[in-house]
Symmetry: C2
Subunit: 269 residues, 2 copies
Amino acid sequence: MTFKDRIYALKGNTLCIGIDPDGGTLKALGYDTSADGVLDFSMKVLSAVDSAGVKIVKPQVAFFERFGVAGYAALEQLIAEAARLGLIVIADAKRGDIGSTMAGYAAAWLGDFAFSADAITVSPFLGFDSLTPAFSEAKVRGKGVFVLGITSNPEGFLVQGSINSEGSVAKGIITRAKALSEESGNVGLVIGANADLSRYGISASLLSGIPILAPGVGTQGGTFAGLRKIYLEDTRLLIPSISRAIGTGGVTKIYDNIATFADEWRTLG
Amino acid sequence: MTFKDRIYALKGNTLCIGIDPDGGTLKALGYDTSADGVLDFSMKVLSAVDSAGVKIVKPQVAFFERFGVAGYAALEQLIAEAARLGLIVIADAKRGDIGSTMAGYAAAWLGDFAFSADAITVSPFLGFDSLTPAFSEAKVRGKGVFVLGITSNPEGFLVQGSINSEGSVAKGIITRAKALSEESGNVGLVIGANADLSRYGISASLLSGIPILAPGVGTQGGTFAGLRKIYLEDTRLLIPSISRAIGTGGVTKIYDNIATFADEWRTLG
């Protein structure tokens, strides 16, 4: 079973809840600013995700790394609990390097030895082909690699919208990822939920048939309705991701918020 | 004292030894393929670095992450020992994200709370300005941030050599980094030792007055003599980095190899 098959098997129940225990969120929701606070928050979110029937979570690795070894121990526990609940874990790590170094990152996140997530996000600044060791590891293990294509922040355009022999940087990355996805089913893309595809010379059809992780729903201006319009043909492989908005109204609202978002996406998606 | 001042204070003794305990290196040199093996190898290299009078080390984070929590505990010990020896530690992490996530990475590597290196490498795929939280953290703490400009691998050109309103992607990044470095002294660049600057529309003068980390000396085709030719004006801020070549001839040669490289750079640089 490829990673793409695993997403298809969700039959459109593809909402992803981002777990982003940054300092501001921890404080606002009454958690300690520590690895313990990060773990407590993470477990709370996992429990709410499970209750709401959501199937995908995306821990933001920076907020665990922030607390060093203890933070990574918390992430390890998060991943183990998510696995117990049958959730798909996308480690939002945005790793990117070359050769054996890239292979090291792939082993760290997709292997059995360290964090063992189901998928990882990767950054192609060193060229799409530099990510090959991650694609190979994912293929062997039936896991996924989401390559950054168009990010949700405006500053990204200067790099992602630059012009090369493949059109724009983003277009080249997307074209290559799609070809690889058709071949192996283990490659996906990160495309910000608010992305204006036309600025990058891309049509929505280029984004069909490949898992798309779409962060930026909620606080960054993306909406479910907007996503539905872009990905009209087929939203079964579209994974909208909501992070900060799950804490709106305080910690007692996390269950309700996640349940509401999940219902909304199941209806609209 | 800014990070740039710390490099100037080395008076040209700027060789950097990369600590890259990948699986192949560990095996070839007789170390366990485990976090313990990674730690033993790291301590061996630090001791050799200290004996040779080298002042900068660059652990490659992927090879620690590869072993999860135990790997990060080894990295923590490496950094503590390097600090004890008075070495400058550049964490080669190539992190890159936006907003509070980027701030999380900056805190993880430059703060007092997690890994506490002296500098970190960062990746500008999300745009140079997305890295601002790392620049701010570095400025406050007198530490350094090395932004990927031109990497040593050929696949990088499709991204880094793409054309935008600032010339090439690499040129825009380098121009912005240099302006920031002149302002704060805490920003540097990663420019592969084998980089052909003219392909990116860059002249060597654009690279003066800013710390340059130049990986790829040795196994990736860069040479000290080649670097000297490029950075003729001033090599005091140039940090050539050697990783794999330190193990040539086996584990008993690590001391000699590092001492030889250090002497060679002091003479040529």
